[in-house]
Structures are given as C-alpha cells and as structure tokens.
Symmetry: C2
Subunit: 229 residues, 2 copies
C-alpha cells in the first residue's frame, strides 16, 4: 500500500477549475472569463488548465452544466408533469436572470451537456403526459427551443441592465426609440406595453401557450386518427 502524496493540498482538478470558472463568470461576467483570470484565481500556470480541460469552450459548457444540473434536480419528481415543466422553465429563467452568462452559453451549442439535461427532463414530463413518438420529439423540440430562445434574449437584456432601475431606464429608452422610428399604431402600442411588461410573467405565459398548443395538437391528431379509422 502506498500513501497518496501531493505537492499541494489543493491539487488542480477539473472540478476545481470549473468552480473557479463559475466564480469568475459570476463576478466578472462572460467578458471577464479569460484563461489568464482562471490561472490567476488558481495560482497556477497557463498550460496547467489544458491538462484537465481541452479548451475554453469546454470550460464554459461545464460551468453551465453545473448550474443547470442543480436547476433540473430541483424541478424533478412530483406527480404533476405540467407543474414540473413549469417549475423547470421557471428555474431556468431564474438561473439565467441571476447569471446571464448561462443563457448565452445555452443558446450557443445544441448538444452540450446542459442542454441535454433540459431535453431529458422535458422528455420525461411530456412522456408522463402521454405524448410519445414523433409528437414527443416535435413537442420537446418546440419547448426546448422556446426556453433556449427566451434564455438567450433575456440574458442579453439582464447583462445590459443588471438591476431594476437600469432595466427600467433601458426599456424606456428602447420604447422611446421604437415610438420615434415608426408611427404605425401597432408599434406605438407595443412600445407602451414594452415599458411596463414583466419578463418573467411573459416567459411563463409562453410556456402555457406551448402547453395549450401541445394538447390541442394532440387532440387534433386524435380526432384525425379517429376519422381515418
């Protein structure tokens, strides 16, 4: 039997590197994540990182996977699949609201681990609701793409205007710009609505539209099946 010996008690590991990455992203944002910042944070050399991780993209994907893993775990279980879907969507929304970099990362790469976790959780809930086969793939893709799209858009907004006051000012500015550029009454009304809209409520309304759509599609498909019998 041999003793485990290490030159430093806090030996470098993929886990510690990802932890440091999340910390840097949270405090300095996406533009603050540089390999130099990571090595400084861990008091190591540049090349050491590449011993545990293939490149910066993998670092970002691993960081997002860590955050989303917690969200998915928190929303899992329960015997109400619709509730699970809403809880998952809301959890993702709030994670992105707190950490805009997650939203940007999610909408960047389709087959990264964090996105696969979302796919699977959505698939499980839809399956529990009785949706299967191609309909499951279509419904899952619709929901996941909606959530990721909203994620990316909201992340960009949250990054630009971190607190409530900055957000209000920013939206007022955009609304004024719209109203100025286009006299179309529809645009004028949209500008007014934009000023006072609630991102979270609008996001959840979208989830409900989607859920309603799936079951009305399912119903139509069932009717079609009956008709062709």
């Amino acid at each position: 039997m041999t003793f485990m010996t290490s030159r430093r008690t806090d030996a470098l590991s993929r886990e510690r590197i990802v932890e440091a990455t999340i910390q840097i992203l949270d405090t300095a944002g996406e533009s603050g994540l540089t390999l130099r910042a990571v090595t400084a944070h861990l008091a190591t050399g540049r090349g050491a990182i590449y011993h545990h991780v293939t490149n910066k993209d993998e670092l970002l994907a691993a960081a997002a996977d860590g955050v989303i893993g917690q969200v998915v775990a928190a929303a899992a279980g329960g015997d109400d699949p619709r509730g699970s879907i809403r809880a998952l969507a809301l959890g993702i929304f709030e994670a992105i609201d707190a950490r805009p970099w997650v939203g940007v990362q999610l909408s960047r790469e389709p087959f990264q681990p964090a996105v696969l976790q979302i796919w699977k959780a959505v698939g499980v809930s839809l399956s529990a609701l009785g949706v299967g086969g191609t309909a499951l793939a279509d419904a899952g893709s619709a929901l996941v793409n909606y959530v990721l799209g909203a994620a990316g858009q909201h992340a960009a907004g949250a990054r630009r205007a971190p607190d409530g006051a900055a957000r209000k000012e920013f939206l007022d500015g955009v609304a004024a710009e719209w109203a100025r550029q286009d006299s179309d009454p529809l645009v004028q009304e949209s500008a007014a609505l934009l000023r006072e809209h609630d991102d979270r409520a609008q996001f959840l309304a979208g989830v409900d539209i989607f859920l309603a759509g799936i079951f009305s599609s399912e119903a139509i498909a069932a009717v079609r099946r009956d008709a062709s019998d």
Copy 2:
C-alpha cells in the same frame, strides 16, 4: 455650385462595408470575419471602417439585418395571416440554414434591428388574427423566442455539419453517444428518433404548436371573459 470630387470611384460607405461583411461571413464563416479581412477585401486601412461603423458588433447586426430584411419582405402581405407567419418562420429557417452566422447573431441580442423586424412582422400577422393587448405581447414573445431559439440551435448544427453527409454522420455520432451514456428507454428512443429526424419539419411542427396554443389560449380567455360577465 461645386462638383462632387472623390479620390476613388468606389468611395467607402457603410453600405459597401456591410456588403463586404456579408460576403466574408458567407465564404469564411463567423470566425473568418475580422476587421483585417474587411479592410483587405475593401483595400483600405483599418481605421477607415471605424469612420462608418462604431464597432464589429454593429457590423454583424447590420449584416443580419440585411439578410432578414429580404426574408421579411418576401413573407409580407397576403390575406392569410397564419400562412404569413408560417412563411416568415420558414424563410428565417432557410436563411439560417444557408447562412448559420445569421442564426447565431439573431439569438445574441434582443433589440437589434433584425429582431425588431421579425417582432413587427409577427405582430402584424397576430393582430390581423384578432389578437391584441397583453395577449398579443405574450403570443408574439412566445413565437419570436421560439423562432430565435430554434435559429440559434439549428445554426450551431449547420455550422458543424455543412452538407447532408456530414450532418448524417454527426447526428449518428451524437445518437450513439446518448444511447451509450443512458440506458433509459426514453433516451434510447430519442436517440433513434434523432438519427432520422427532419430539422425543417420539426421546426414547422413547433410553429404549429404555438399557433394552436395561441388560439386555444384565446378561446379559453374568451370563455373566461364570458363567465365573468
């Protein structure tokens, strides 16, 4: 009266710069777009670009706006608003399929000109279908976010696997990886479906789910209004 004199017949202009940008993006992809490539293409100095455009982000946004402008124009008009929405969505899908960089750019920034064009076109069609007020904002946001999410995800796939053969190989690889990692029957079935799924058909199925959801939501809201009378 003075004559307009210019040292070169093809004087630099914002328009010519954006044109060159689109050409570079189409041939060299997003990673190929560098200020150095643009200046080389236009046979000018680096700083000249900054005389017509504030930075690289604006260049990308202007390029995407040019492409989306044509798509929106082509899908506009007609007396079938649902058809217009489907045509717009399909047009965006095909533009992104041909130019993955557009999809990446669309999902990056919420209030850029190209996205505002999409918002307005969707708003006009939904409005023609009788949706208004907050319901219009919710429905529009759902649809736009779905389209942008799918745009980003499809763009990443299209960039990774440009032609049909590469795409098939790539999807087979991902499906095999899923099947290996997770023995859950749901994942096994999803892997099988992934291998043979049609991105375009799946995207359009998603549009129909949202349309169905919008009108079933509208119906429910109408019932609620009646009930509260």
